[in-house]
């Protein structure tokens, strides 16, 4: 099923300035998010998932900066937006659900005031009553009792709070919702419920969902496509069935192999991969995965592969699937 493109990320890089030098947490990444899809974004801790998610809303703050690239949202490059336009963009066209619902709401503000504020910030002419009315409809739809509107965050359960966060993400009809480990802090049952709800919302509101998670099982169950990140690169991206059926990138293979059984174990799985995750201050040359890759060829440590489209439609960032005049020669030399 071909869909329209909602966001096109082109050559995006994010660099953290640290005491020991620059860290390229996102390194020349290009990919597309399609309208109405659920795109899962997976990869081990520290590979740059959150950084990428924040960059899509230009929420990167010093000491980090977006050091290259374009983010084309519905045909417009939001990198060209000024701060005022960006403020309007945030919440209205793309919104974000954060990991920790406990700390992501203002402890001194009631649920209804959060919702009303979110609306009025973007629509100053909307009255409190109108805003409340709109919020109420949404809140009920999300299965939060209207009597909860007057509650403070600490009076709600974790699942309830996360639904409030979801409501805040939806209240302005944003097209893209970025859920950064939105379900991670919840227990398994609540997590499953929220995940179901997110899928329902996608179907009902026609929103696009970028789901950042460690939970491969959840991605398998929910997502239409999946993107795998490694050390600041998108190394594999494609249709969920294709990627899970026949992972191409050695890292993806290891990643999926490290989930013992999707059916039996529904919990968060930590990725177990031989070797250490790379130090991004001094990333490995060439393919950043080469020190841990069992198929590594000499060229792998010298040149970075491109993200190339395979016959199956999957995009892969690996020399195994890309030709190069020196590929053979280097291999022979070794």
């Amino acid at each position: 099923m071909e869909r329209e493109t909602l966001v096109s990320v082109q050559d995006l890089s994010v660099t953290y300035q640290t005491r020991i030098g620059p860290v390229s947490a996102v390194d020349h990444v290009s990919f597309e998010i399609q309208k109405g899809e659920i795109l899962g974004l997976v990869g081990e801790s520290g590979c740059g998932k959150s950084t990428l998610g924040k960059a899509l809303m230009r929420l990167i703050e010093p000491p980090a900066e977006i050091s290259s690239g374009h983010i084309i949202f519905e045909g417009e490059d939001i990198m060209a937006y000024d701060e005022e336009k960006m403020r309007d963009f945030r919440g209205r066209r793309t919104s974000m659900i954060f990991q920790d619902p406990m700390t992501s709401l203002n402890p001194m503000q009631r649920v209804d005031d959060h919702l009303i504020e979110a609306i009025q910030v973007h629509e100053p002419k909307t009255s409190r009553e109108k805003a409340l009315e709109r919020s109420s409809v949404l809140i009920e739809r999300l299965g939060i009792g209207l009597n909860r509107l007057g509650s403070y965050p600490h009076q709600l359960s974790g699942g309830m709070r996360q639904r409030v966060m979801t409501g805040l993400g939806l209240v302005l009809n944003a097209q893209l919702i970025i859920a950064d480990e939105a379900t991670t802090s919840l227990d398994v049952i609540v997590e499953a419920k929220l995940a179901d709800q997110l899928r329902e919302i996608r179907d009902e509101f026609g929103v696009t969902l970028l789901m950042i998670t460690h939970n491969i099982a959840l991605v398998a169950e929910m997502a239409d496509r999946v993107a795998v990140m490694y050390a600041g690169h998108v190394v594999e991206m494609g249709d969920i069935y294709t990627v899970f059926e026949k992972p191409m990138h050695p890292y993806t293979q290891g990643l999926l192999g490290s989930v013992p059984s999707v059916e039996l174990n529904d919990r968060d799985e930590l990725f177990k991969m031989p070797g250490e995750p790379p130090n991004l201050t001094h990333p490995p040359t060439g393919c950043r995965f080469h020190p841990r890759c069992q198929y590594a060829m000499p060229i792998c440590s010298q040149l970075e592969p491109d993200l190339t489209k395979q016959p199956s439609g999957t995009l892969v960032h690996c020399w195994l699937y890309q030709d190069h005049p020196d590929k053979q020669k280097n291999t022979l030399k070794a």
Partner: protein
């Protein structure tokens, strides 16, 4: 008012009682351990021992210490305080009744000034963290924090009182006006307004400026630093990042969301600073010849006037207890997380 809140309120008030009791008992015994004698210090060395003893007997100083302690507690509970030991043995109640308003007229505006000024500067510095203005504000806070109060007062007196001659050097009102001034509450500003005495009001306000600024500025440093530190912490929190992702403006995030959450530690600080405020008031009153209870305390300590000193301290303890009570209650009201 819910019944649980009422319960909290009553418990909190009851807890204040042992707090005050411990303080006033402590000062009672400390005064008696200190060297010096109230009778000798006012009669001088030439009076005979018999004469001194007559006075001692009359003032109850020859009673066993526990009897004196009992009498003292009784005086405090009944808000009577008894008579001073020295200087005409004037009822302490009358003396404090006159002087307490003078002290409050100085400390309340000073506290308001320092809270508003300190919190605004601290919040502004936090918003502009690591920019030049932040460094300037931080330097300023260290600078005023480290200046002794009397020195600050002296500088003000020299600059605004002597050199520029804009403000009166000391006292609460021009002596000319004072002769005809009707004071009912002993809050001069209030009295002047009640009696529509505009020249007196003007004079009272002019007299208030320097002492208030001195006392207020001396406390501002702590407020700036505390507000700044808490605000920076608050601005790093997830709900601020989440707010930004919702398109809320930076100004609103700083002054509405973060600052409101910072009020809780600030209120606690105001409660804690009250004790320091009183110490500052003692110094300020001395510097500006302000006839408040701080100066009274200093005079009476010099004379070893046990009863006067004890009673004044008791009033201070009361004052601190009440302020900290009010701050706790305010905290309970503004922080939705506090449940009883």
């Amino acid at each position: 008012m819910s019944s649980s809140f009422r319960k909290f309120l009553i418990t909190r008030i009851l807890l204040t009682i042992p707090m005050v009791l411990i303080l006033v008992s402590l000062i009672f015994f400390v005064m008696r351990v200190l060297p010096g004698d109230p009778i000798r210090s006012q009669l001088g060395p030439r009076v005979s021992e018999e004469q001194a003893d007559v006075l001692r007997e009359r003032l109850g100083l020859n009673d066993p210490i526990l009897v004196q302690y009992g009498n003292y507690l009784k005086d405090i509970v009944t808000f009577d305080f008894g008579n001073a030991l020295t200087q005409g043995e004037r009822p302490i109640k009358d003396e404090l009744g006159e002087r307490l308003p003078a002290t409050l007229e100085l400390t309340i505006p000073a506290m308001l000034f320092t809270s508003i000024f300190g919190v605004s500067l601290g919040a502004f510095a936090a918003k502009n963290r690591k920019k030049p203005i932040d460094y300037i504000i931080r330097l300023f806070s260290i600078f005023i924090y480290s200046i002794p109060i009397f020195f600050l007062g002296l500088i003000f007196q020299i600059v605004f009182g002597v050199q520029l001659d804009w403000l009166p050097l000391s006292g609460r009102m021009d002596s000319m006006l004072l002769t005809t001034f009707q004071s009912t509450t002993n809050f001069y500003v209030l009295d002047a307004i009640i009696s529509h005495n505009w020249p007196a009001l003007w004079s009272a306000v002019l007299h208030l400026i320097m002492p208030t600024l001195t006392l207020g500025l001396a406390l501002t440093g702590v407020f700036i630093r505390l507000t700044r530190a808490n605000m920076i912490e608050m601005l790093r929190s997830d709900f601020i990042a989440a707010g930004k992702a919702r398109g809320i403006s930076e100004k609103r995030l700083v002054y509405h969301h973060a600052l409101r959450n910072t009020f809780i530690p600030i209120l606690t600080l105001i409660g804690l600073q009250t004790a320091i405020l009183i110490a500052g008031a003692v110094l300020t009153e001395t510097t500006f010849s302000w006839p408040g209870i701080g100066r009274y305390l200093v005079e009476r300590i010099a004379l070893r006037d046990y009863t006067a000193v004890q009673s004044t301290i008791a009033v201070f303890a009361f004052f601190v207890a009440i302020i900290s009570l009010v701050m706790d209650l305010l905290n309970a009201v503004i922080d939705p997380r506090i449940r009883y």
